[in-house]
């Protein structure tokens, strides 16, 4: 058994024989031709054929992946009939009397080199397109069949990396998974694999050797593992995982697009918690209804200095536009406590969980806060934004934060920069103070989102990072649940919505309780969306509400 570690870019487990992608033999010999006109006609015919093939590929891509994907091949079509390109080829064939294969290949290299020399990364990458187009014309000239899979059974396909035109032409029914030596998470192979819902592993370098061809492999796109000649225990473990994933997939298919509605008709919004703009695709894959908590800290953690307004704007804009018209709740900077950043130069504290963190830092250092708020409001023009402030204990903090938002909006208006007028402002309820004062706080904001991790730790006076507290740390403690009920009641009395974005939101033992106290939104990790939807759809709130609420408030409950 040989285990190879790569990078998984599309999840799933597949088992089958390993097969190396066959490229046609494109050895080009440079010769002089006797009949220049005939050779030119041969080129024109090959060029026309290439344009026809590219047109078919564009239509195929349009059907499989939309207009944007089709545009790639349409651009290739235009390159194939580009005037300068054609003129250079004409000179080679008619002027110098060289054979078409050699001229096309050399011209392709020349044009590719011109793009490579440009000082723009996007344009440099276009050199691959020119080579791809030239390669297509050359293979037509050589009479080669486009490379592919010549196997009677489905295979795990290995390749160095696949060009866009190669991935589109693959016989998809023959592929169980991909393993490539190079490539990136956004390469065409990765995108195709995700669209097909099959595993893909990239970056294995030369670890997958040609002599493995035909041997049994198991690939796990989740962990990035490729196992050649697996032993029985490994095969069984991975096949069990495969079963589980397939069950999940079936659940997804069955629940996708279905509303989060209980048997008696109560609906609740199920959103996702994310920490990075790249996580958006997992939200959409799992059919999340929106983003209930986007932690903006990553922007600060991945930089060596304060991230600029433009840098932040681009990140927020990406998430908002990728999510379309779905709601996205972005939480303003929440550092301090267990998340420390060097350049903030925060003094060391005895008890950071109760120290200078989150909104407290923002209010004490308004220049940092202002930059973030400006970036957020600018991005609001590109989607459906809600802004949420963390770690609130008093009404004055919220008033001060809102005042800064007003100021930023005024600045943007004066500068003529567009922003959305309907951005909702909300707060995290994660301190007992905020829960107890929620009747007053509800008058200041558009929504509440309960951060149950901190709310539990502060209410029970149990450090959540201390593993020795055992039975004293009980996230189902009635004190926490009573606070949540109080917060929900105060929110509804004041006509605002209330959500839960802590880990408790995904705790299926509490779903009935949350529905009974009228929580409007549950924000959970993307993978928890569908199991939660299933639970909601099986629940009948009429049958459990009274009992659960009574239990919550009862003096008889065991605690």
């Amino acid at each position: 058994m040989i285990t190879i570690q790569g990078k998984g870019v599309s999840t799933g487990v597949a088992v089958g024989p390993l097969y190396f992608y066959r490229r046609a033999d494109l050895t080009i010999r440079r010769t002089e031709v006797a009949d220049k006109e005939a050779e030119w006609a041969r080129f024109k015919a090959a060029q026309a054929k290439a344009i026809e093939q590219l047109g078919e590929l564009a239509e195929k891509a349009r059907a499989e992946a939309g207009d944007e994907a089709a545009m790639l091949f349409e651009t290739h079509q235009m390159m194939a009939e580009d005037l300068d390109y054609e003129e250079a080829i004409e000179n080679g064939i008619k002027g110098e009397g060289i054979n078409a294969e050699a001229v096309v290949s050399e011209t392709g290299e020349q044009f590719a080199a011109m793009f490579s020399a440009m000082d723009d990364a996007y344009m440099q990458a276009r050199s691959a397109d020119v080579k791809d187009v030239s390669g297509r014309i050359v293979s037509i000239l050589l009479g080669a069949v486009q490379g592919g899979i010549d196997s009677p059974v489905p295979v795990v396909l290995a390749a160095d990396d696949l060009a866009p035109s190669e991935t589109v032409q693959l016989d998809k029914s023959k592929i169980l998974g991909f393993v490539t030596s190079y490539g990136s998470g956004s390469s065409h192979t990765a995108i195709l694999a995700r669209t097909m819902g099959i595993p893909a592993i990239i970056g294995v370098g030369d670890q997958v050797k040609p002599e493995y061809e035909g041997r049994e492999v198991i690939v796990d796109g989740g962990t990035g593992e490729v196992v050649v000649d697996p032993d029985d225990a490994t095969r069984q473990a991975l096949l069990a995982k495969r079963e589980q994933l397939l069950k999940r997939q079936a659940l997804l298919e069955q629940l996708k697009g279905k509303p989060n509605v209980t048997k008696d008709g109560q609906t609740v919004r199920v959103y996702c918690n994310i920490g990075n703009p790249e996580d958006v695709h997992t939200v959409l894959e799992n059919d999340g209804g929106g983003v209930g908590l986007f932690r903006s800290e990553f922007l600060y953690l991945e930089c060596d200095d304060y991230p600029t307004e433009d840098y932040q704007f681009e990140a927020y804009k990406k998430v908002l536009s990728d999510m379309g018209d779905k709601e996205v709740v972005i939480r303003t900077l929440d550092i301090g406590a267990d998340k420390q950043i060097d350049y903030f130069n925060l003094p060391k504290e005895e008890n950071p969980a109760m120290g200078n963190r989150a909104l407290r830092i923002c209010l004490n250092r308004p220049e940092i806060f202002r930059t973030q708020l400006r970036a957020l409001y600018r991005a609001s023009a590109y989607g459906h934004l809600c802004i949420m402030f963390p770690m609130v204990t008093s009404v004055w903090e919220v008033k001060e934060a809102k005042k800064m938002c007003e100021q930023v909006k005024k600045e943007l208006t004066a500068e003529g920069i567009p922003f959305a007028e309907d951005v909702q402002l909300g707060i995290m309820i994660e301190t007992p103070a905020a829960a107890v004062m929620s009747d007053r706080l509800a008058k200041e904001v558009d929504f509440f989102s309960c951060g149950t991790n901190d709310l539990t730790q502060y209410t029970l006076a149990c450090d959540r990072q201390n593993n020795d507290l055992g039975r004293f740390f009980n996230p189902h403690h009635p004190s926490v649940l009573r606070l949540l009920k109080m917060v929900a009641d105060n929110a509804h009395k004041n006509g605002i919505w209330v959500g839960i974005c802590g880990e408790l939101g995904a705790d299926l033992e509490l779903t009935e309780t949350f529905l009974s106290i009228g929580i409007d939104e549950l924000s959970v990790s993307p993978r928890a969306v569908l199991p939660l939807r299933q639970k909601i759809r099986e629940t009948d709130v009429r049958q459990c509400r009274e009992k659960l609420v009574n239990d919550l408030l009862s003096d008889q409950t065991q605690i």
Binding site: M79, D82, L83, D84, Y122
Partner: protein
């Protein structure tokens, strides 16, 4: 010859996709020669790769000239195209 100046507002500049759209648009006016100039470089707007290699970015000022055919009408059509797409 008729011409007009235009400052590119598209954030990606004349990348592959906009260049492709431009070439398609220019092909409609077979009777005119349309040239795009930036600084001392210029290119026939029918040439996709030449256009891309101009490396025209957002904020760059370009001059578009039309020669031959119904210059007034073609010039107006090109100006409308630039405003709508670039």
């Amino acid at each position: 010859m008729k011409s007009f100046s235009y400052t590119i507002t598209d954030p990606v500049g004349i990348h592959a996709r906009p260049a492709g759209l431009l070439v398609k648009a220019v092909k409609e006016f077979a009777g005119s020669t349309i040239t795009i100039a930036k600084g001392d470089k210029s290119v026939n707007a029918l040439k996709l790769m030449g256009l891309m290699q101009m490396g025209i970015k957002q904020g760059d000022a370009v001059t578009v000239s039309v020669e031959g055919g119904d210059e007034d009408a073609v010039c107006a059509a090109m100006e409308a195209f630039f405003k709508a797409n670039l």
